[in-house]
Amino acid sequence: MSFTPGQPVRAQLRSASGHTRLPLYVRGRRGVVCALRGRFPLPDELAKHGAGASSALEALYSVRFAARDLWGEDAGDHDIYLDLYESYLTHA
């Protein structure tokens, strides 16, 4: 699944059984893609199989979340940017 800047996305709501770089505080939350950072091995797979085993690369996107969408109306008006791999995201 690929995404373009400006597109709304939702971080997947799931419980990881191993290493992941998808923080709990954005799981299931809606954000907006801001930029494509490049293509990198998925850390979840790297942790399982080691650096040599997997050569599959995934797109890494900068995704902006509004504090209010993470913690509610009284959370303040700041934005949080995370770099999230494509398999962490779905179209919103």
Binding site: R21, P23, Y25, R37, G38, F40, P43, L60, S62, A67, W71, A75, G76, D77, H78, D79, I80, Y81, L82, D83
Partner: protein, 195 residues
């Protein structure tokens, strides 16, 4: 302890597992060649050279690979991580960096990270209430200043370019770099004003 380390090093050199100066080189890299003095040079250059500033904001990774950590081109150019992103403070926007899952951080340009950067308190609170956390660092931002929090990971790390302080028009690039602290490069402080 120091004697045991020295004996171990001597043995490893003796058996050919380490080069004679390898440990000294690594120590020199972490203690002298990497550090916030490098990040400060980047910021000072960005303040005086609009083309450099543009290049840094467009692709900071490429700038490091071309010019090295200390901008002379002679130092190490290989980043131990894959992407460096420069984010710029303006009168209306403040940037602050965290790694909520661990302690990712651009060591070559900022030096070893401070203990608080790795603390649960900083990592959990700065995404949730950055204005309050920054105030505890002594940095009180106006209510109209927007805050962007950048949550780093291993592949993608951040360098904050603070605003150039007023009253610095006559300073040299070296003098400007001296105004930029490690904390200013993380975003928990501003660049100092000259005395």
């Amino acid at each position: 302890m120091a004697r045991r380390v020295a004996q171990l090093e001597a043995l490893l050199i003796d058996r050919g597992a380490l080069g004679a100066t390898q440990v000294d080189d690594v120590e020199d890299v972490f203690c002298h060649r990497m550090g916030a003095q490098n990040g400060a040079r980047y910021v000072a250059r960005a303040w005086v050279d609009p083309d450099f500033r543009g290049a840094l904001l467009a692709d900071a990774t490429a700038v490091v690979r071309e010019r090295g950590y200390d901008l002379t081109g002679s130092s190490n150019r290989e980043l131990p991580f894959l992407q460096l992103i420069a984010v710029e403070n303006t009168p209306s926007t403040h940037n602050v960096v965290v790694c909520t899952l661990c302690s990712c951080y651009p060591v070559p340009l900022l030096g070893p990270s401070p203990r608080w950067y790795k603390s649960f308190a900083y990592r959990s609170r700065v995404v949730r209430e950055p204005r309050a956390v920054l105030a505890e660092f002594g940095l009180t931002l106006g209510p109209d200043v927007e805050i962007n929090v950048w949550d780093s990971n291993a592949d993608c790390r951040y360098l904050v370019i603070p605003e150039r302080p007023p009253g610095t028009d006559d300073l040299t690039e070296d003098q400007l770099a001296a105004l930029v602290s490690r904390d200013a490069l993380i975003g928990t402080a501003l660049a100092r004003e000259p005395r």
